[in-house]
């Protein structure tokens, strides 16, 4: 099976290389047959890589420990679910998985565009196949998943214990699907630049792919936070680790693009900027992979570092040169007579939103890479950790939140400052009222006051937009409130999906602020029967818990949790000792409510003395982060649903193509 997998990957490399040659030459000599052959080669490469993936999964599930990859990342006792996830637990497997997602996207793009966007497709296929071929070269020659050992171990090393968590089984596929999906708008942007078809086709065609990638990447980031929260055992969800940053940076630039592309749709301006954003986002996603894989910056995620860093750097350099070269080449054709009716307009606020989003992306990238710069300049490697990122990003985040409040109420083209002030009057007083209420309630932390009251401001402006829109439908179309509301959101899914995303974002801001600013903690070393208190909770250490299964041994302590004198539950934090021999992993236990989370960790124990040390955190409002994430995802889904207008536009574009072809 291993030889079969190797063979499939080699054939896939041939197919993908042929896709580049056939598509590019097909476009150059205008040969429909060559173009078609290139597209079929994409399907072939996809099928072959799928077989390669299945071959590796088969080897993992049948405990083929003569393979280096299987011996390194699996073992006999590993549960089935994690054997599936072992595909992305190590480097060569995760690059193979990445490649599979990229080829799946490519095959879908080819399938969906078999009758439309024909002038762009050969270069789209060429671009996608260049990226696939790069990854195929990696899995065939540099980081091969089917390498045999000179001996067959009795059992494998098993998976890193921290990765044995259900969230971890979903988090990497989500991140990869998001990262890789950003290649699609990039490929269309390159095709627009190469062919000179610089109209709105490239971004209209890829809009759904962009939103899909954006929200899947966002979901991946959230799941990563959730995983860190329940698995790493330090009571937080975001540590500004280089690899976390690497996923956030392209997400921020993609968010900027989703906003600024609306200006291009409406006013046919910012064409260079939008193409630059799409190119930048793709390059940053490759840079993210480079950071994850190269180990160039030390990171908690360095499960899989190796020597492929320089190759990634070379590929990144190649992409930068080609993309920037193309952009410069087409610059004269892209110039548009930009006009602005008024400084006070939706266009301006979107541009400031872009400034802050790209500025935040730059600041995070700068902080992530600064240790390398410092080492190069001073010869001293330094750490750039959470205090730096908090200090730098919080003012930018406040600016973004304010804009999220103003944007929805400010009109396109021209808004009078007086009318704008009238419109934000109620939200403004809600802001002042909430700040006053917080002060009266005894909150003195300026971060918390600013963040909470700005969130109230944004939530009020957004809710008012829904309200005014419903009123407008009610009065104009004579509908009942519920029908008016449904017809309103149904008629413009993108607008109201976007507003829902803003609401989700605000809930996340509330959760992050609450859990960062008002976090409380306590540590206690206890014998059975003893207790300690934190916030409104009292905890009593009742029993030692031991559990044994073929994969691991669990050692923990059971604590009764009291609110006042009433017992509200029990928690059993502990540590897992994996039989494959790795270090123990912390297993936290959490009592979760909408108000706060009681988060318990067993930090150490002395079995002889019977003393167990527990650390407890009280994390207020942390659940609102996950709820906000769910609202954000729902909003993004809604924005992606097909619109009648889009279908009409597609049909018209298709008719135009047919007419052009006939002519």
């Amino acid at each position: 099976m291993a030889d079969f997998g190797t063979f499939c990957l080699l054939l896939a490399l041939v197919a993908s290389s042929w896709a580049i040659i056939a598509s590019y030459n097909g476009w150059r000599v205008q040969s429909g047959e060559l173009v078609l052959s290139g597209e079929r080669a994409v399907y072939a490469a996809w099928a072959l890589v799928l077989l390669g993936v299945l071959a590796l999964e088969y080897c993992i599930h049948t405990d083929r420990f003569d393979l280096e990859y299987v011996a390194s990342y699996s073992n006999r006792a590993l549960p089935r679910m994690y054997k599936v996830a072992a595909l992305w637990a190590g480097q060569s497997g995760s690059i193979l998985f990445w490649l599979f997602i990229l080829l799946s996207y490519s095959a879908i793009v080819v399938l969906l565009n078999r009758r439309k966007n024909r002038p762009l497709m050969p270069i789209v296929v060429t671009t996608l196949s260049v990226v696939s071929t790069f990854f195929l070269v990696l899995v065939n020659f540099m980081t091969r998943p089917f390498v045999r050992l000179s001996f067959t171990p009795v059992d494998g090393n098993g998976m890193n214990p921290q990765l044995q968590n259900p969230f971890m089984a979903i988090h990497p596929p989500c991140l990869y699907t998001g990262y890789v999906g950003l290649t699609i708008p990039f490929a269309f942007a390159v095709a627009a630049l190469v062919t000179g078809q610089l109209g709105d086709t490239w971004f209209r065609t890829t809009r759904r792919f962009t939103i899909l990638s954006w929200f899947v990447l966002g979901t991946g980031i959230l799941l990563g936070g959730w995983w860190a929260y329940v698995e790493l055992g330090w009571g937080g969800y975001w540590a500004w680790d280089p690899v976390e940053n690497a996923s956030l940076i392209p997400w921020l630039t993609a968010t900027a693009f989703l906003h600024s592309v609306m200006i291009e749709e409406r006013k046919k301006m910012l064409r260079v900027w939008n193409l630059s954003l799409v190119i930048m986002t793709f390059l940053l996603s490759i840079l993210g992979t480079f950071i994850t894989r190269s180990g160039v910056i030390s990171s908690v995620h360095s499960f899989t570092k190796s020597e492929i860093g320089p190759v990634f750097a070379g590929f990144l350099g190649f992409c930068v040169v080609v993309a920037v070269g193309l952009l410069l080449y087409r610059l004269p054709d892209l110039k548009s007579e930009a006009r602005l009716d008024s400084f006070v307009s939706r266009e301006s606020t979107f541009l400031f939103n872009n400034l802050l989003l790209v500025g935040a992306a730059f600041a995070i990238l700068w902080g992530t890479l600064f240790p390398i710069l410092s080492e190069a300049v001073r010869g001293v490697k330094i750490t750039v950790g959470a205090p730096f990122f908090n200090q730098v990003t919080v003012p930018i985040a406040f600016g973004l939140i304010t804009l999220a409040g103003i944007c929805p109420v400010i009109a396109w083209r021209r808004a009078s400052a007086r009318k704008l002030l009238e419109k934000i009057q109620i939200p403004f007083w809600a802001l002042v009222g909430s700040a006053a209420a917080l002060l009266i309630a005894g909150v003195r932390d300026p971060y918390a006051i600013v963040a909470f009251s700005l969130s109230v401001f944004v939530i009020s402006t957004t809710v008012m937009e829904f309200y005014w829109g419903t009123r407008a439908r009610q009065k104009v179309a004579g509908q009942a409130p519920a029908a008016a509301f449904l017809s309103l959101v149904d008629r413009n899914k993108r607008r109201y999906g976007g507003f829902t995303v803003h609401l989700g974002f605000m809930l996340i801001v509330v959760g992050v602020t609450g859990s960062m600013v008002f976090k409380q903690e306590a540590t206690a070393s206890l014998k059975r029967g003893q207790g300690f208190a934190l916030g409104r909770y009292t905890m009593r250490f009742d029993a030692i818990v031991r559990q044994d299964d073929p994969n691991r041994e669990f050692m923990g302590g059971r604590l009764a949790i009291f609110e006042g004198t009433r017992q509200v539950g029990t928690l059993t934090p502990g540590q897992n000792f994996y039989k494959a021999g790795q270090n123990p992993s912390t297993e936290v236990d959490i009592r979760s409510t909408l108000r706060d989370d009681l988060y318990l960790i067993l930090t150490g124990f002395d079995p002889q003395e019977g003393v167990y040390t527990f650390k407890a955190y009280l994390n207020p409002l942390v659940n609102w982060i996950w709820i906000g994430g769910a609202v954000l995802i729902a909003g993004a889904w809604f924005a992606m649903l097909p619109d009648l207008r889009d279908r009409k536009r597609d049909v018209e574009a298709r008719l135009r193509e047919i007419e052009a072809h006939a002519a």
């Binding site: 937080g236 500025g359 600064f370 003012p395 932390d445 407008a472 104009v476």
Partner: protein
């Protein structure tokens, strides 16, 4: 917005660069302050001593407590750890010498880009020439005009209806 408003964004960003967000250090005990300024060197996670739950972090916390008890200031305690373990133990760059570049650059770039954006927007605004609203937008405006509304309601609804019709 008056033209003088153009200085607002660079000024706000400059304030952020110079002052940053209000420091919460005042809320923390010296022990917590120092714990937050040092990274745990256990190697199991990139966390500050304050957050890391491993045995190494316990040891560092004990050392901080001892040093503070002897009358050392938080700065002196941090300096002692830096002297022993190198610059990498700091959780963020210092605010002197080359490290200052780390702090200033993001805000300097934002101020420069923000100023350039303001300048560009003013230039675009000066070109003016408002294109006529689309046919769909005009139709929406007529529909709103015909409804029985107050002037304030009419203004908001005209905008909402027009934007929906134009797909934005």
């Amino acid at each position: 917005m008056p033209r003088s408003g153009t200085w607002l964004l660079p000024a706000a960003l400059l304030c952020a660069a110079l002052g940053g967000p209000p420091s919460r250090a005042a809320d923390l005990t010296p022990q917590r302050q120092v714990e937050g300024r040092l990274m745990c060197y256990c190697g199991c996670a990139d966390l500050t001593v304050r957050l890391c739950t491993c045995g190494t972090a316990d040891g560092i916390r004990g050392e901080i407590t001892r040093r503070l008890a002897t009358g050392e200031t938080p700065d002196q305690v941090v300096a002692a750890f830096v002297a022993q373990y190198g610059e990498q133990i700091r959780s963020a760059p210092s605010t002197s010498g080359f490290d200052l570049v780390a702090w200033v650059t993001p805000f300097a770039v934002l101020v420069a880009a923000g100023s350039a954006l303001l300048f560009t927007l003013r230039r675009w605004e000066a070109r003016g020439a408002r294109p006529a609203p689309s046919a769909a937008g005009q139709a929406a405006a007529r529909q709103v005009d015909a409804a029985p509304l107050t002037e304030a309601e009419r203004e908001v609804m005209r905008r909402v209806e027009r934007e929906i019709k134009e797909g934005l």
